[in-house]
Amino acid sequence: MSRRMPARRRLSRPQWAISIGVALAIIGFIGAAQWNSSLARQEFVTSAQRILVSQAEQAQRQQESLRAQIEEAEARVREFQERDEGSRSAQERLNEELAAARFAAGLTTVSGPGVVIEMADSLRPPTEGQNRSAYLILADDVRDVVTALWASGAEAIAISGGGAGAPPERLVPTTSIYGVGASILVNTAPLSPPFRIEAIGPEGLADRFLAHPSYLIRVSERIEAYGLQFAWEARDEVTLEQFVGNTRLRYGAPLVED
């Protein structure tokens, strides 16, 4: 018992000096890496680009603010609809119809069994003479995966990008998916890799998705040729947030039949 060394004495002076030395070396390495990466980014930006980057950031912030306000206003409208004091049965029927319509339109948060797919740019360096963009996830790749999911029976899909924390974009009848440089705009929100596509659908959605290679020819060829990263997983429970954005027609109107 008495021969057992106290814990605080186990670390002799040379040992902790070596530990701190190694740790300081790691700090130096990380610090240098950070300094270098910020230098590289700054060198790349011209003054014209800097102004445009600032404008894009400002527009993105404005979009986030507008979407938050729309979400709040929509919740307020729903409050009014749910507490209407008119005919109780008429109100209930109308609310049921509204709930079904909102679901079909992607305006309701939903959950259910489904599949999660992640796609990211290739880790391979471009070979000589190859365009760097061939090694990036493009809008076509995301569209093809989305098409294959809808064709496999998906009932709701959302796409997020830029890692954890980025708000997902729910796909609705007006959703566009297109590329601007290395970023992909979904519902006009600029997303960056890794892209996460989540879908809800009847049992076997993942199996049906993988059994439809014809919809995935373009993307599977690019995965093979350029090493794009692709992973999928079936899930018992996936939750997809409602769409927040413009749902109003500016150039048209519902055709009300007499």
Binding site: R8, R9, L11, W16, I20, L24, I26, I30, Q34, S37, F44, Q55, A56, A59, Q63, L66, R67, I70, A73, D84, L94, E97, L98, A101, R102, F103, A104, A105, G106, T108, T109, S111, G112, T147, A154, E155, P173, T174, T175, S176, Y178, V180, G181, L185, T188, P190, L191, P202, E203, L205, Y215, R218, G245, N246, R248, L249, R250, Y251, G252, L255
Partner: protein, 223 residues
């Protein structure tokens, strides 16, 4: 005493490493690397974001007007069912569950295109600002995609032929110029599969409601 000092030093160093590592990882994965885009790409992005922000501002103004109408009706002690019915019609039209009428374009396309080409055309129209789309008499919902059926390309189980008429509600001029832009999809299809196309601006077109049942089997709403 010396042991305590060693522990404190190690703790401080570990903390510093942690902070630096988090900083490094965050800088490796920014939300979007705007500085990596060219000036032209940035201009396109800024223009797109600003256009969409105008649409969102309009939508917000409409919602606020809707809230004011509810408040007025409630203050007068009247039922707001009519306002809710209007909202239902709007949501049904957005979802594709009700017919819509308005301005837009008719795009006639003929060629040996495949299902992917048809899906790309629908996405191209949406990117150009289409608010509602129908291919022949098939109203396009979020879930509608062109697939290769038993004998022909099908959308929502309805076959389409070599000639399709696509109608889109939106700004007639904006839709036409976006679809005819140099290097755009229509010109690519013209070269790739010999497709021919014709765009007509319309002041009054009507799109039918979808015939597809959009009721969920697996998804359930989260309260």
């Amino acid at each position: 005493m010396r042991g305590r000092l060693a522990q404190l030093s190690l703790f401080a160093v570990a903390l510093l490493i942690g902070v630096l590592l988090v900083g490094q990882l965050r800088s490796q994965a920014p939300a979007i690397e705007l500085s990596s885009l060219s000036a032209q790409e940035l201009s396109t992005l800024v223009e797109t974001l600003q256009l969409r922000n105008v649409e969102l501002s309009d939508a917000l103004a409409d919602l606020r007007e809707q809230i004011r109408e509810y408040e007025r009706e409630e203050a007068l002690g009247q039922s707001t069912l009519d306002l809710s019915r209007e909202d239902l019609e709007r949501v049904l039209a957005f979802a594709g569950l009700a017919p819509v009428t308005g301005q837009g374009i008719t795009l006639e396309v003929e060629g040996d295109f495949d299902a992917t080409n048809v899906n790309d055309l629908i996405y191209e129209l949406r990117s150009a600002g289409a608010e509602a789309v129908a291919v022949d008499d098939i109203r396009i919902t979020a879930r509608s995609v062109a697939v290769l059926g038993a004998e022909a390309i099908e959308i929502d189980g309805v076959p389409i032929g070599r000639y399709v008429e696509i109608r889109a509600i939106g700004s007639p001029r904006g839709l036409q110029s976006a679809m005819e832009r140099p290097g755009g999809l229509l010109l690519q299809l013209q070269q790739a599969v010999g497709a021919t196309f014709r765009i007509t601006r319309e002041t009054d077109i009507t799109l039918p409601a979808t015939e597809r049942d959009l009721a969920p089997q697996a998804a359930r709403p989260v309260e």
